[in-house]
């Protein structure tokens, strides 16, 4: 099959970018979207042109690197998948496909489709950890954890830090990501001593990075490849509000 791409090309952070047209022929419908971009890049290299820079690593939906805004949607048209899990058979032969980087003040473009997501790392560094050694794997069973909480924590921990929530949110808010990280620790006994401080520090860091404010639209939940739930944001609101309003 053949596709017509409109790809965002931008030399570096300072340069002006623009959408550029590319026609890619001989696309196998069972190629992933990233493999199709690989084909494009082979073509560009053979023509002595600069290949399209894009982030990728695992190519199996677990690392969260493959940030691409495809045809107006974070990670493309499918629900609950990353770009590397999106296959060309989901597009029509001859279709025009827009490919843009994540757009957010807090995620500046590095080059073409790659953005700098280190804002997420700084948020984690502000409190997304348990500050003491919690032991070896077998020690996890010495403190009982409610089954319900274990399940919810596991669901929240599925967040791969891809940033699709920020990209999809009309406000560029990072609350789904931050609330997932706050939640998966808040639901465990080991996360309790630092729970309130963690909420405050991570939210403060999130605000400092220049993400927008959540207005409960739900685009993040709809686009998250790991189907992280909005209930996590409510939990974060609760933790933050009790920490600032009620705690001594």
């Amino acid at each position: 099959m053949k596709v017509n791409l409109k790809v965002w090309r931008q030399k570096n952070n300072k340069a002006q970018g623009a959408l550029k047209d590319y026609a890619v022929d001989g696309v196998n419908p069972d190629m992933s979207f990233l493999e199709m971009i690989d084909v494009l890049n082979e073509q560009l290299i053979s023509k002595n042109e600069e290949p399209v820079a894009f982030d990728h690593d695992c190519r199996e939906g677990i690392c969260g690197m493959c940030s691409m805004y495809i045809n107006g949607r974070a990670h493309g048209p499918l629900h609950g998948t990353t770009t590397c899990q999106l296959y060309m058979r989901h597009f029509k032969d001859g279709e025009t496909i827009y490919v843009e980087p994540w757009r957010s003040k807090a995620f500046p473009v590095v080059k073409d489709l790659t953005v700098d997501r280190s804002a997420f790392d700084r948020i984690i560094a502000a409190g997304g950890y348990v500050g003491v050694n919690t032991g070896q794997a077998q020690d996890a069973n010495t403190i009982p954890v409610e089954k319900e909480n274990a399940e919810k924590a596991m669901d929240a921990a599925a967040c791969i830090g891809c940033g699709a929530c920020v990209a999809a949110c009309p406000n560029s808010s990072a609350m789904l990501f931050v609330s997932a990280k706050i939640s998966h620790l808040a639901l465990f006994p080991q996360g309790q001593p630092e729970r309130k401080r963690r909420a405050i520090n991570m939210v403060d860091q999130m605000d400092e990075e220049g993400f927008g404010n959540c207005t409960n639209i739900g685009a993040c939940e709809a686009e998250c490849p790991k189907e992280i739930k909005l209930t996590n944001i409510a939990r974060m609101n609760r933790d933050y509000l009790t920490a600032t309003l009620i705690e001594e």
């Binding site: 409109k6 965002w8 959408l19 805004y69 045809n71 107006g72 949607r73 629900h79 827009y98 843009e100 757009r103 957010s104 003040k105 807090a106 473009v109 999809a168 009309p170 406000n171 560029s172 808010s173 609350m175 309130k196 401080r197 405050i200 520090n201 939210v203 403060d204 999130m206 605000d207 220049g210 993400f211 927008g212 404010n213 959540c214 207005t215 409960n216 639209i217 739900g218 685009a219 939940e221 709809a222 686009e223 909005l230 209930t231 944001i233 409510a234 939990r235 974060m236 609101n237 609760r238 933050y240 509000l241 920490a243 600032t244 309003l245 705690e247 001594e248």
Partner: protein, 224 residues
């Protein structure tokens, strides 16, 4: 405990928005209940009685100041959110195709809020402001005839249309705002979510519908 500047923070702004929103919702209930008394068709007797109670009772008048503050906080906070959120994405997408699960009215609260603000100005210029001007600071019982003024104002089909349009904006605003307020306050629980969802829909339909029916029924001469 580490300190955070609550109302400067993103969550603090959500909290304020939700809190003032719920307060304004409680005002809508009282406003709709008292105005519905025009349908008793007793020449405005009951409506006037309760209307002047609201305009002259010192406790209610004190609450009115809180209400004005509630409106101002809700509006200013909304504008702040709108500005910060617009700035958070300096370069827009060339092509955007939002997922169906994120509703257009949730994405358009700034626009709906602006329409409501315009309506609020028109509406208070019709009734509330002239009444308080005549009353002045001390002469509380010297009220204008709100009932008569209502019958007068709603003879104009354009005014009726503006009011109906205002009520439609209110419907969409509430459809997002009602349940959104609970989420912002951290209330999101499988036990209550369905109730909040349905209560929100019912409220968003019933209240604006009641309000819209007032100018309509007056225009068609059903109130006397």
């Amino acid at each position: 405990m580490a300190q955070s500047a609550l109302f400067k923070s993103s969550i603090g702004k959500k909290f304020l928005m939700g809190l003032t929103g719920l307060f304004l919702i409680s005002f809508l209930v009282i406003h709709a209940a008292i105005n519905s008394m025009i349908w008793f068709n007793d020449g405005g007797e009951t409506f006037k009685k309760w209307g002047s109670f609201m305009g002259t009772n010192p406790i209610i008048r004190a609450m009115e100041l809180v209400l004005v503050a509630g409106f101002i906080i809700h509006i200013v906070d909304g504008l702040l959110l709108w500005k910060q959120n617009r700035d958070a994405r300096p370069v827009k997408y060339a092509y955007s195709n939002p997922p169906a699960k994120s509703k257009w009215y949730s994405r358009s609260m700034g626009l709906l809020g602006t329409l409501l603000l315009i309506f609020l100005v028109i509406h208070s210029a019709h009734f509330w402001i002239p009444n308080r001007m005549q009353q002045g600071l001390t002469d509380w019982h010297n009220e204008i005839n709100l009932y008569g003024r209502m019958l007068e104002v709603f003879k104009n089909p354009l005014v009726v249309a503006i009011y109906v349009f205002g009520c439609i904006s209110l419907f969409w605003h509430l459809l997002h705002g009602f349940k959104s307020a609970f989420q912002s306050l951290g209330v999101n629980h499988t036990k209550y979510n369905q109730t909040i969802e349905y209560a929100g829909i019912a409220f968003s339909v019933v209240i604006p519908l009641l309000f819209a029916l007032m100018p309509i029924s007056i225009y068609f001469g059903l109130v006397n």
